[in-house]
């Protein structure tokens, strides 16, 4: 007789990853099972550790900016922003209004693209392979806007210190119109496809429940925090760029289980679309052309430290930059990577669940390994 009362269960260790289709990259989880039930789970990370923070110390500031794209590679622009904001804080540069709006607009577009991957892969990991095709199609519309704007699909490097790389153009406008047209029918259709699905509900309802207190104590951020009933979004509560000009409605779920994390993302997608439209309208009213502030050719920020944080698709991304005031390289750069902090709860969350639930839990967190390992 084992601890959980099952007569014939056997204890064994299951190694999940680093090569596994459902670990979203190279995450490895070493879990102990008693029969079907998990008794302990231990995430092993570092399989994609590229030493990014150390590398940035040997690069000049502008050279370091494209590296941040490779942190959370599903939303490149959003990662540029905290580093840019922190260095600009040190430099004391004024950002033109149009550049700020363009930053926000591209961030929201890439947030949408990232959520599409998060939702699609989640559904695929639960076994519905066709569920991944529709969101990825929407993601292509979002990437098409970025492609028209700056020429790159994924790792754009669009944000520069003092502004952005390229001004809004007609091609991007046309691509954004396609997104406006395609996204609302998709949301409606996807709700019909997934929300009432018996298998999806059975596999996600009541699985991996995180209470608001536990979510806060584990420093969860982003949609995972809001799915546990904590109403916190940096864009509204500590606005950066020009987010304070816009009214941002933050949806919140109370259940805190895997299903709530899916529903949270689907609700947020609708809000993102509204926000994109609002920012786009504001962008049209500004004068074209001025997209860079007065930034010196050689960036040598004065000695000191600056910290900036933004609301990324995965949670709160922070960046600390320290400068000694002499060199063209930063003295130290540190990133607060949301996925890294989010997976800390896995060891507490997974025990007590079945093998298949582990996959649902990993998928519902929408993690990105580039960000976890850094």
């Amino acid at each position: 007789m084992s601890e959980n009362g099952n007569a014939y269960s056997e204890r064994y260790t299951l190694n999940l990853g680093p090569q596994h289709p459902s670990t979203h990259g190279v995450l490895r989880i070493v879990a102990d099972f008693d029969g079907e039930t998990c008794i302990s789970a231990d995430p092993v990370i570092g399989y994609l550790h590229r030493g990014m923070e150390k590398l940035l110390e040997s690069r000049t500031y502008p050279q370091g900016l494209p590296y941040t794209d490779r942190l959370d590679y599903l939303a490149g622009v959003n990662n540029n922003l905290p580093l840019a904001l922190a260095v600009e804080k040190l430099l004391g540069v004024e950002i033109p209004e149009r550049a700020s709006l363009l930053r926000m607009l591209t961030c929201e577009i890439m947030r949408l693209a990232s959520y599409m991957v998060g939702i699609g892969i989640y559904i695929m990991d639960l076994g519905a392979v066709s569920g991944v095709f529709y969101p990825f199609q929407q993601r292509e519309y979002a990437l098409e806007v970025m492609s028209a704007l700056c020429g790159a699909r994924m790792t754009q490097g669009y944000i520069r210190f003092g502004g952005v790389q390229a001004d809004w153009n007609d091609e991007a406008e046309a691509a954004l119109d396609v997104l406006y047209k395609e996204l609302p029918p998709f949301i409606e259709m996807y709700h019909k496809l997934i929300d009432e699905n018996e298998i999806f509900l059975r596999r996600t309802k009541g699985v991996g429940v995180i209470t608001a207190e536990r979510a806060k104590s584990y420093a969860l951020t982003g949609p995972n925090l809001r799915a546990s009933g904590v109403d916190y979004d940096l864009r509204r509560d500590a606005p950066y760029c020009l987010y304070d000009r816009f009214t941002i409605k933050v949806p919140v779920q109370q259940a805190g289980d895997c299903h709530a994390r899916y529903a949270q993302r689907m609700l947020e997608v609708e809000e993102i679309l509204k926000l994109i439209k609002a920012i786009h309208a504001a962008l049209k009213e500004t004068e074209p052309g001025k997209i860079m502030g007065a930034v010196p050719k050689m960036l040598r920020p004065p000695a000191g430290e600056a910290y900036a944080q933004t609301e990324n698709p995965k949670g709160i991304m922070g960046c600390l930059v320290a400068s000694d005031g002499k060199g063209v390289n930063p003295l130290r750069v540190h990133f607060r990577r949301p996925s890294f902090d989010n997976i800390a709860i896995f060891s507490e969350l997974m025990p007590g669940h079945k093998v298949a639930d582990l996959i649902a839990i990993i998928a519902s967190f929408d993690i990105v390994l580039g960000e976890i390992d850094g």
Partner: protein, 190 residues
């Protein structure tokens, strides 16, 4: 339906020289192909088949893996070429797509996966990191290119490459399969 042909094989003991009937009936390979008959070696037939149905290993490392997934999705749809059967087990795959940065910690796993794949097998290195280490080449934890770990057949540049480039990489591998005499071996023993 049986195909009617005029092929006459040489008689035992050799073909009598100067017999106009025999020289007339022997057809060249082009003529045979035009009549729907193909003489080939098994190896060539196998390579032709394999070139149209490569089964990649579903194995993502970093950013490039997302573009690899995009390539299989509805917009780019790699199944048009017969390459959509991504296998999760290396035992069932014959192409390894190294999509992303290989770190020192990941290196043994990549090597093991390669050795677990049955012969014949090929490797495509996608993106700057898999080609040479890319932007992370001087990092303390990054392997400078997939060819330090496994033999690479096709390199696809980009950071990450667009899905069109990945499809082109697969087609390059197909060309290499059907024309083995064209292959170039670049070896870096360092």
């Amino acid at each position: 339906m049986a195909l009617k042909t005029n092929i006459r094989f040489p008689q035992r003991g050799g073909m009598p020289e100067g017999d106009p009937a025999n020289t007339h009936d022997l057809l060249t390979q082009e003529e045979l192909e035009s009549r729907g008959i193909l003489f080939t070696s098994l190896d060539k037939l196998f390579r032709w088949g394999a070139g149209w149905s490569l089964w990649p290993l579903q194995f993502g490392l970093a950013c490039c893996a997302i573009e690899m997934i995009c390539t299989t999705q509805s917009r780019f749809d790699m199944s048009r070429f017969g390459y959509e059967v991504f296998r999760n087990s290396p035992r069932q795959a014959d192409v390894m797509i190294v999509a992303g940065t290989i770190t020192e910690k990941m290196r043994p796993a990549v090597e093991l996966l390669y050795h677990q794949m049955p012969e014949p097998k090929w490797v495509i290195a996608i993106g700057s990191c898999a080609i040479s280490g890319g932007p992370f080449v001087d990092s303390y934890s990054v392997v400078a290119g997939a060819d330090k770990v496994v033999p690479v057949d096709v390199y696809v540049p980009g950071c990450p490459p667009r899905p069109e480039a990945i499809i082109d990489g697969m087609l390059q591998l197909k060309a290499k399969l059907s024309h083995p005499e064209r292959k170039q071996v670049v070896r870096d023993d360092k």
